[in-house]
Every structure is written in C-alpha cells, then in structure tokens.
Symmetry: C2
Subunit: 448 residues, 2 copies
C-alpha cells in the first residue's frame, strides 16, 4: 500500500490508506451533517472537498457526488452502487497518497487542507445512514450453539431450521444509534424467577406458606447484555418488490460494513419472545460504529466461514467458498471506575451464513431491499473458551458464573456506568482496515 502525506499517520490506525471508510460528520464551521472519510486521525470533509474541486478530474464519469456528499446520510451515495464506490474510493486514495497524480488538488493546497482535513477529535459523528429497515440474523454458529445448549441441552442445541436457512428477525430502526450515544437501561416486563425451594427439613417446610407463583413485574432489566455483531449496509438500486437477489450477485448490493452492538435485555426477552420473537428485549438500543468500511476494502480479507454439511437449497448455494471476512474482533468492558478489561477476542469468520446468503434468503419471497437497509450478522463467538464469547449470556452461562474484570471487579450482566466498546480490524500495521470504536455507556433506568 502506498504511503499517505496526511500528518501523524499511526501504523496502528484503523484508517490507513487501504481503508477509506465513509461517515457523516458535523463540524464547527458546518453544523449540518454531511459526508466525510476517515484517514489516520483525520476526517476528510467531502462536502468541502467537492465544493472546492473540479470532481470530474478526480472521479471521472461520476455524477451527483457533490449533492450526495452534502446530504445528512450516505444513502444517496450508497445507491450509486459498487462501481461508483470503487471509483470514488480509488480517487480519494490517490488524493491522499504521497505520490498523488493530483498534488495541486489537496496535498499542496494548504488553504483547502486547512478547511477539509479536520482532526477527528474536532468533528461530531452522526448515524451514517437513514435506515429504512434493519434485520438481525443469527449466523454466529458458536453463539447459536452455546445458547441452544444452555436452554435446550446439547442434543437439541440447534433448531431444526438453523442449518437450512439464515434465521433472522426484523429489528427496530428508530433506536439504531451511532457509537457514543448513551444507552439507558430499559424498564421491561419480566417474569420473576420461581421462588427458592422450601427448606429441607419437612417439619419446617410444612410451616412455610405455599410459594407464590411466578408473576411478571415491571422493573429495570436485571440482565442487560451486549452482542458483538458485524453490521452490513446495503447499497445500489435495490431489488424490485416481487423479485429476488441471486446469491452470487448479492455482493453488488452491499455498500459497506460497521460493527454493531445489539444490546439485549435477556430477562425481558425471555418472557416476551414466544411465539413472535424478540421485541422490547432488543428495541431499546442498537449501536453501530460511525465509519462505514467500504465492501471493497474488506475484499483482501476473505475467508471461509463455518462449514455447513447440510445440503443447501439452490438459492443459498454460493459459488465462492471464501464468503466471509477474517476481521479480528474485540470487546472491552470499562467500569465506572475506569478499569478496562478485554472480555472477548474472536474473528468475524465464525459465521455459518454469509451476507450474500442472508440477502438471497431475505429476498427469496420478493421482499424489497433498499440502499441504507442494515443487516446484523448475529452474535459472533469463537469456538474456544469464555474469552471468545460475543455476549455475557454465554460468558456467564446466563448469570451463573462471573466474568472477572480488572480493578478486582466482576460481572454477570452489565452494571450502570459500564461502557462496552467493540473494535475490529484486518491487515498488517500501516495498512489496517479497521472500524474504529463502537461504544456505548449504560445509564440507569428511569423508574416508571
């Protein structure tokens, strides 16, 4: 990878010249949210760049970019499709390269650099897309298996449909928020656990009143959890209602990727989810990282996912076998006291379904997908021990064991004041393709 003239490039930065992720910023000079890319510790303001530059020179053949990059979401750009994204990314990579073919545009243009190249610490990040629909899948095989073992035992761990189709559910778009947004512990309806068994001495037991039956209460969730997921934003023109997207062409419908924390209230979910699926246990907040890593930037990091020995239906049979990405993923938990523990390290290759398979399945019946739609991978866990698990539910076996933390602390589920940070990157130092932080801090519930 070429080197960049951008100051202070750190070889450990997620935002090397090999990345060029897109986001929505507002700045002290322009509080209206608009588009940017991340490069090292800087944001390149694309609205300012477009307003000051003859774009046909740098992005020949692309139209409407200045308009698209002035919007408060990346949807218009995402709609332009992979070919345009490729060209724009390549054009920006050239502009930011030490050996740029257009040095006068930005590298040697001190006035424009001062206005367009802004330290990330000085800009505010916004939700990158206007999300039309959000679907959360369940493709993390080791997560699904571990949770299944916990609730149904090892013989029935996976539901009968699990290896035949990418199981998923429709999520809530209005509560998808950008990294850094406070997350309030949800109040919910919760079925209190059955009371403890009576004392062993039969004489004593006979004197006890009969145990009260299980009953629901309305209370702050006692089992607030995180879920480590990869998010996928769709781009392109979308499929018309009534038509399906073939699995082998589905990659062309992908704009880019983010990290996604699907906050989950386990106790709320347990009581509500039969028979129609998760609802209030999930819809109070979902956090995404602010920079959308373009699909092309992840191409060099393709890998094979989890092997699925099931004979797949034709519409799910993908030609390529390296249909997922090997992204190193980490979860940090920071206590209110400021002690940080990395509680999970795994890889996004631990998926049994690829995003193209999810898209092919989602559209099989003709459901229309649109640029800006968000897909979640499902919780990603590794095959190994508790330090590879993408949720506290798994790490603590639903609260039975504690996860030990720095600062002599421990958790079963999240406490008020805890901050969860997801991180992910691929590639060698100096050419990393990473996501930045996907972070949320828990605030105490509002009593109802």
């Amino acid at each position: 990878m070429a080197s960049s003239w951008v100051p202070d490039m750190d070889s450990a930065s997620d935002f090397s010249l090999a990345n060029i992720p897109f986001g929505i910023i507002s700045t002290p000079d322009d509080p209206k949210p608009h588009a940017a890319v991340a490069i090292g510790s800087y944001a390149l303001d694309l609205k300012v760049l477009c307003a000051s530059t003859d774009l046909t020179q740098i992005f020949p053949g692309t139209r409407g970019l200045a308009e698209a990059f002035s919007q408060p979401a990346l949807n218009a750009f995402a709609e332009m499709g992979r070919a345009v994204h490729r060209q724009v990314r390549a054009g920006i990579q050239d502009l930011l390269s030490t050996a740029t073919a257009h040095p006068s545009v930005l590298r040697d243009n001190t006035a424009l650099r001062a206005r367009a190249l802004l330290p990330q610490s000085t800009v505010k990040m916004h939700l990158p897309m206007a999300i039309g629909d959000y679907t959360d899948f369940y493709a993390g095989y080791h997560h699904a298996h571990a949770v299944g073992v916990m609730f149904r035992g090892p013989d029935n761990a996976l539901q009968p449909n699990y290896l035949h189709l990418p199981v998923g559910y429709h999520g809530r778009t209005s509560s998808v928020v950008v990294s850094g947004t406070p997350v309030r512990r949800p109040v919910g309806q919760i079925l209190l656990p059955p009371p403890p068994p009576p004392p062993a001495d039969p004489a004593e037991a006979a004197q006890q009143p009969p145990p009260p039956p299980s009953r629901p209460v309305t209370a702050p969730s006692r089992k607030l959890d995180m879920e480590l997921e990869l998010g996928c934003f769709l781009g392109g023109a979308g499929n018309e209602m009534g038509t399906a997207v073939p699995v082998d062409g589905a990659d062309e419908h992908i704009f880019g990727y983010v990290l996604l924390n699907d906050w989950s209230a386990r106790d709320v979910q347990t009581w509500e989810y039969v028979p129609l699926g998760p609802f209030n246990g999930k819809n109070f907040a979902t956090t995404v990282s602010p920079w959308v890593v373009p699909a092309d930037a992840l191409e060099p990091f393709r890998a094979r996912g989890i092997e699925n020995a099931t004979e797949l239906q034709g519409y799910l049979r993908e030609e390529r076998e390296d249909n997922v990405f090997d992204i190193r993923l980490e979860v940090d938990l920071t206590t209110a006291e400021g002690d940080t523990t990395t509680i999970c390290r795994t890889s996004s290759r631990n998926l049994v379904w690829s995003f193209p398979q999810m898209i092919a399945h989602h559209t099989l019946g003709g459901c229309p997908m649109r640029a800006g739609d968000l897909l979640g991978s499902g919780t990603i866990s590794g095959p190994g021990g508790v330090d590879e698990r993408g949720s506290l539910l798994e790490m603590t076996e639903n609260g039975k064991k504690e996860v030990l933390l720095a600062g002599m602390d421990a958790r079963t589920f999240l406490k008020d004041g805890d901050t969860v940070t997801l991180r992910g990157f691929c590639g060698a130092d100096g050419a990393r393709v990473g996501f930045g932080a996907c972070r949320g801090r828990i605030y105490s519930a509002v009593e109802r």
Copy 2:
C-alpha cells in the same frame, strides 16, 4: 351531521362529512404525489386548495400546512399533532358543508372547485405515509385463541405471556403497499409434510422403501393467506429515546387508522419462525387502505374491547374502558372468474389490547416512536363461527376444511388470481366513517 354541497353524495359512502380522511394522490395535472382528503366520491386536492386560498382564514393559528400538503407523504402533517389535526379537519368540514361560513372560498368558487375537487376515479392513490417502522401486534383475542387451539390444543391455546402484555413483532416497512398494488405469491423455503403412512397390508408395507424424512424445498407458498387487521399510524412529536409514553396519554400520539391486510405464507412461517418469529412468511407484502381516517373521526364509535381478567401491570392500566372502536369489518374474496363472496364479517372491538396499550408497551423500555410509524392490531376475528374469522388459517383449520365460495368454488388458501378486499365502516347512513377498500390481487409466483 351537516349536509355537504359536494355533488353526488351517496348516503352509503365511507367518506361522509363526518369522516374527512387524509391521503396522498397524484392527478393528471400534478403527477407529483401530494395530500388530499376524501369526500363522497371526490378527492379534495389540499395542495391546490392551499395554493389558492388564504389559509389563515380557515385554519387560524396553523402554520406550514401548504408545505406539508405538498409533500409526497403525510408525515409532516401527522407530526403537527392532534390539536392541529382537529382544527384542520374542522376547517375542511366547514368548507365542504352546505352552510359553510366561508362560501366564497370553495362552495361558490367554480374555478377552484373545478381544479381542487376531483372525482376519485381520476386520481391515483399512493402510500399515505413514509413508514419509519412497522410493528404488528397480536391483540385479536379470538384469532390468537383459535390458532392456539389448532396448534397446541385448548388447554395451552394462549401462551403464558398473552394476557400480560401486548405481544408483537417488528415487521418490514419496505413491502408495505397501498391498496391495489399487485401481490406476488412468494417463493419460500418450506418443510414438506411427512409422507403418507404406508399401506395397511403388512406384506405390502414391507415391500415399500422406507419413507423419506421431512425435508425443506424451495417453492411457491401453498398456504397463502390474508389477515384482517386495523392499522394505526402515529403522529405528533414522538417520544425521545429512553422515555416511555404513558398509556393514558398515548391517544395523543395517534394520527389515524387504516385497514391492513397482513398477507401471510403459512407454510413458510411454520418452518422459519422458531425461535425468532415470523420473517419471510410475512415480509413479502402488507397492504393498507389509502385514506387515513383521523383519530377524531372514530371517537364517537368507542367501545369496550375483550375483557381481560388478568391483573395488569400499572403501565398497561388504562383509565377509560371504551378503549377500542366498534368498526364493522368485512372481507370479500373475488375469484379470477369475478365471483365475490363475503367470507368474514366481524368488528374491530374484538381486541384484548388497545392501541394506547400497545404504544405504552412498545415504549416501556424507551423505544422511540415517530410520526409515520405503523402499528397493526393483529388479526381480528369474532367469537362466532367460521364466517367471523379474519384469516383462512382459522376458517379452514389450517387447510383441513374448505370455505365455499360463490360460483361453485371453494378455497383452503388463496389461489392465483384471487382478490381480497377488506372493508370497514362505522356510523349511520349519510354520516358514515369508513375506510374505503383495502385490496390486493394475487399474481403467480416467479419460479426461482
């Protein structure tokens, strides 16, 4: 109710002066979708009206109406809240009354009438709202009970949570379409039923190969169904993320109501829905009626819903007992040959949860609701016989019995070429508050 000067007012019209439902139209003169109200067999073009009239005279104190009514969806108007909706509806009722206080504005203004009052047959209807999120509930008690009996027997018909909270799931907004939009039979992954038992003669049975196991296939749904529902569009400013809407104030968050057909592929749903709920079995199409009946127009038709003896959590306890509406509902099935049978007659009072209760539950954990969000009631069935059932699933006991149709025809589930029409109205002749038709015709699947 006052009489209207609008020509050809039919006393059986859904769109009497007592109604004034809002919709989005395009016209031969103005193909850009914009707002209108229905009156009798006419649409009053609100964009034309606003452009030609001093609105401060008719709607004193309201601002931004001309802009809102020029939009391709009613969201901006819905956001203005109930007080504005009340005033605008009252102003329009005055303008359209024989004894209008402002005869020169429209009644006696032949030129404006010619441009603004258009036969409904000459305008095209569009989806009335830009739907941010769509949630489908399950509040039709008799439906939930009948389906429960069918799959789990009478002792476990209702799930333990059913009477404690309004069960619901997040639906797909991208496939919500306006009445008249063709509905293509979805292809889906379906678990074939187990093979028939071997012949009775043991000698013969021994010669048969062992029966093949159940296996999924990819095929057009064989169990395509409709669901009769009431839809509710939200309005007002919405609740901030992290805050809840109290049940007794929730009515102020409602803009209006439509009929909703939640098309359902039962065989697809059966195989996919454990454990995360309905997905492709529902997301291929949902049809809504085009005119949004304002919440105020239904106020005179309040009724008590289904009694719920469960001790409710405080956040679900509503002060008023007449918390649902008594809307007469009908379902027509028209065959490809053109024979129409009314297969269901019931009332929207057959709900065990009100929309305010659904909103209070939905926001309990802080999930933000926005103007334009759509809630479905769940399938509405009456307590009586098969002719009160809001889905073919119930009428035919999941395909075991046939529903007899006019033209010597019969159905278990829907056939290609069938048209389903939902209708609903309240009130006496000449003052009806109705919804018009919510209609969709089934087109054959595209083979994958």
